[in-house]
């Protein structure tokens, strides 16, 4: 038995070694190792041992481990979605979006893609760092869709009901044959929280149980410094489970996602920028509009609007994003670039394959409290998107996808807050309607930044989005007395409109700890 296991490990290791050769860091990594080999520390007699030692000292050991860690995490089984009804619905939805874009394009008598005229190119380049001053007439452009529209599509998914009973509302996700966790299983996932361990987001000033530190915050900062210095991604992930101090977040988040910025990344970003300047995609107007409608109007994020324009525009040109979400997105729209001829005349629209919806910018805004420089901001946003956010606006059966999260929310509500569940039925309000916008945006724009960042620590730490529906339930539970008093959707929305006083982590920990 052991032999088979060893063989399997050996086989995987060989495969891994091959795969690593294809990664972009391979070249510089290999040359670093070569340099080490030629150093006096590495001896021919005891090659393996001395090389391993030297690599450890130089940090190449950590680098290799991190590379393997990130590689494992990005392995997705590129098989087709098992639930054909969902994949059909997904394809239909994508088609609708493309159609909408095309009709917007013809209504406005513009092209989806064209070479940017020289004057425009120059003006855009000049104003690159202050795009909020670049004036565009966006009055006729509207966002392609909003969370509400997406929700309507999701609700039609669950339309299939084998037996209809008169009193059974047709909108439950429960009819979908998807497996989601219940509260006890969530407790096993978030085991540290369920055990009542001290979390930074509850009370940073509580006295520390560790010798030598006055407060929990001081203890976490010291530990966090060591974890950051070690730079080993799985350890950082473990650390993030209990919350990160704001002063260390930028470093830790970059490291855990492998989103650190070196020259290679800066060069790539500049290429994306060049791409934005050269070809005018209609989506640029939609991006401008979205930043203006959301971030520029938000009293927590308006300051950062100029950074956000750069990030969102470059994101749209990034074909590496397309390769990550390809399994979910249908065929990307390909269009001809007006003014370009020959083999290059077609482009994916947009190259990233992602058509932004109303509020898409909010996936990026909270990072502005951690990074004040566009390239770093770009890469952390991109890493989060490619690992988490894309799941929130594509239809799939993935256990972390928006459909499963909605189902999880429904199940948790029914099982743990039965009175609320009944109340919603009585007032004929679909409970998902009340929280959907929170889930789709991972609460960005709904929670104040300091609380949001604590929530996103937990997403990174446990590498899962199930905390979002759990938080939604906890908030409803917290405000249930007020919800019981109202009987229309608008009034329920009003009860939940202001989340500025919510303390996210204590609320969540309370929900996870057994009564």
């Amino acid at each position: 038995m052991e032999d088979i296991k060893d063989d399997a490990i050996h086989h995987t290791a060989m495969k891994l070694a091959e795969e690593i050769k294809n990664l972009s860091i391979y070249k510089s990594f290999y040359s670093d190792v070569q340099k080490l080999v030629s150093s006096p520390n590495v001896k021919k007699e005891d090659f393996k041992q001395t090389l391993q030692q030297a690599m450890k000292e130089k940090g190449l050991d950590t680098k290799l481990r991190n590379t393997v860690f990130h590689w494992v995490r990005t392995q997705n089984k590129n098989k087709l979605d098992p639930l054909t009804s969902l994949s059909k619905a997904s394809a239909q939805w994508e088609k609708r979006i493309h159609k909408s874009l095309n009709s917007m394009c013809s209504d406005l008598e513009t092209s989806l893609a064209k070479i940017r005229p020289q004057t425009e190119h120059e003006e855009l380049a000049e104003k690159w760092n202050e795009l909020s001053t670049y004036s565009l007439d966006l009055s006729k452009y509207r966002p392609v869709y909003a969370p509400k529209d997406f929700l309507d599509v999701l609700l039609t998914l669950s339309g299939y009901v084998p037996f209809t009973r008169e009193d059974e509302p047709k909108w439950e996700f429960a009819h979908l044959p998807l497996q989601v966790k219940n509260l006890d299983q969530l407790r096993k996932t978030y085991v540290e929280w369920a055990n009542g361990e001290p979390l930074l987001g509850v009370n940073p000033n509580m006295p520390s149980i560790v010798q030598g530190f006055a407060t929990l915050e001081a203890e976490r900062i010291a530990l966090g410094e060591r974890v950051a210095a070690l730079g080993y991604a799985p350890v950082i992930q473990e650390y993030l489970k209990k919350g990160s101090p704001q002063c260390l977040r930028a470093r830790l988040w970059s490291q855990v996602l492998g989103a650190e910025v070196k020259q290679q990344q800066t060069n790539y970003f500049n290429q994306l920028k060049k791409s934005v300047l050269e070809v005018d995609l209609m989506i640029d107007k939609l991006i401008f509009k979205d930043v203006q409608l959301t971030a520029s109007n938000d009293d927590q994020y308006f300051v950062f609007e100029d950074l956000l324009y750069q990030v969102m525009l470059c994101f749209s040109r990034d074909s590496e994003v397309l390769s990550a979400v390809r399994s979910l997105a249908g065929a990307a729209l390909t269009v001809a670039v007006k003014g370009r001829h020959g083999p290059d005349c077609l482009t994916a629209f947009p190259p990233s394959g992602v058509i932004p919806f109303h509020g898409f910018t909010m996936y990026a805004t909270p990072f502005c409290y951690l990074y004040d420089e566009p390239v770093q901001l770009y890469y952390i946003f991109r890493a989060f998107y490619m690992r988490y956010w894309h799941r929130l606006h594509y239809i799939s059966t993935h256990p972390q996808g928006i459909v499963s999260l909605c189902l999880l929310y429904e199940r948790l509500l029914e099982a743990n807050e039965p009175l609320l569940w009944i109340h919603f039925r009585n007032i004929n309000v679909n409970p998902i309607r009340v929280v959907f916008k929170w889930l789709m945006r991972a609460f960005s724009g709904h929670l104040p930044p300091d609380q949001l960042l604590l929530l996103w620590d937990a997403i990174l730490g446990y590498d899962c989005l199930e905390i979002l529906p759990l938080l939604a339930i906890s908030i409803l539970s917290f405000r249930k007395e007020n919800i019981f008093q109202v009987n229309t959707l608008q009034n329920v929305d009003a009860v939940l409109a202001d989340l500025s006083t919510i303390s996210v982590i204590p609320l969540l920990q309370l929900a996870l700890m057994k009564p």
């Binding site: 930028a250 009293d299 609007e305 409290y369 951690l370 004040d372 104040p448 300091d450």
Partner: protein, 424 residues
Amino acid sequence: MTTSKEKCRIFNRKEKILKFCTDFEKSAVINSFLKRGWDQVTPHEDWNIYWSSTLNCRALFNSGTLQDNQFINHFPNHQELVRKDLLVKNIRRYRKDLEKDRNPVADKYQETLPGGGSVTRYLYLDFLPTTYVLPTDYNIFIEEYKKFGQSTWILKPCGKSQGDGIFLINSLTKLKKWFRESKKHSSPNLSSKDVYVISRYINNPLLIGGKKFDLRIYVLVTSFRPLKAYIYRNGFCRFCAIKYDTRVTELDNVYVHLTNVSVQKHAEEYNSEHGGKLSLNNFKLYLEGTRGLDVTKRLFKDIHWLIIHSLKAVTVVMSNDRHCFECFGYDIIIDDNLKPWLIEVNSSPSMTATTQSDRILKNKLVESILSVVLPPNGIPDVRWNKTPSDAAIGDFDILIDEDALYRNKFADDDNDNGKKLRIS
């Protein structure tokens, strides 16, 4: 079911209904009093708190005496702190006094300027940008200016507010020209509107998102001797609507340089959703996230230090009338070395709310002020020791309480004849 307001009135009726009057038709002020069950009256009637304008309160102090149960929201000679030229005068005097006492707080050092000359700076008390009063210091200024080389200066009239009449100059010829012009219009006896201050312009402000901002921090003072000051937790940053630009052509573009909301409101890019205001908490979050915890802590320590010493600078000249409290609006600019500079102190900070969150802030501010300023039974009384409970302090933090410091110092003495102040 009796509402809390009705309960208040029932309680007060046993004693007396408390009355307020105000010169401002500002809901933030009026609602806070009405919430406590107070009645609004005119200034001629018997009021308990008068939320007055600076003009009216001067008349009031000049006219007659106030009763023991009457409070007013200004100190009689608050202009010592609030008028730009008097603030400069007081801080200069304060520093010299400390120097005379050989207090190390007043230690100095020499700084060499790019222009070639050197200037003496205070190590710990250098929080006011180099300022001269015009026309009094005109000749001194011309001499000193040569040391600074190419530099920009900001001229502010002493008698105005809301960014009115402020402009920048970057050449001596421009200043001389302005000075000649102004002399033609001024009266022989200089009134406050003829007095200007000229300060070294902070041309390296800290920028966020490429935009310049200043801080507005509210400081409530209930007594100057002993000094009791409270700093409001929810201050905010006021941002310029457009990007900061140091090019000369932009010198006249007030929207870039001046952060007063009343000026920014008229810029095309002004957004009434957020009004260009970012909360102090978010500012702290941003600094911690991008620059680290230590520098953030140090910055806020420096800000507190600045405020405390500006207040100490005027304690000797302030009339410490026990009927008075005042909430000052401190305007502070932070440069890109994370050093805070005091720009000015305002006496009746605008109670106008520009956005929804602003409305909430101003409402809470007035409520918090009343909570600190009123004795536990809610009735103004000059004989109260002005020591609010922890709960009453609410959204304020104690900036400095010399009374408590003094008491604690002598509480350690075991002797019965320790010099305890009789607090009445």
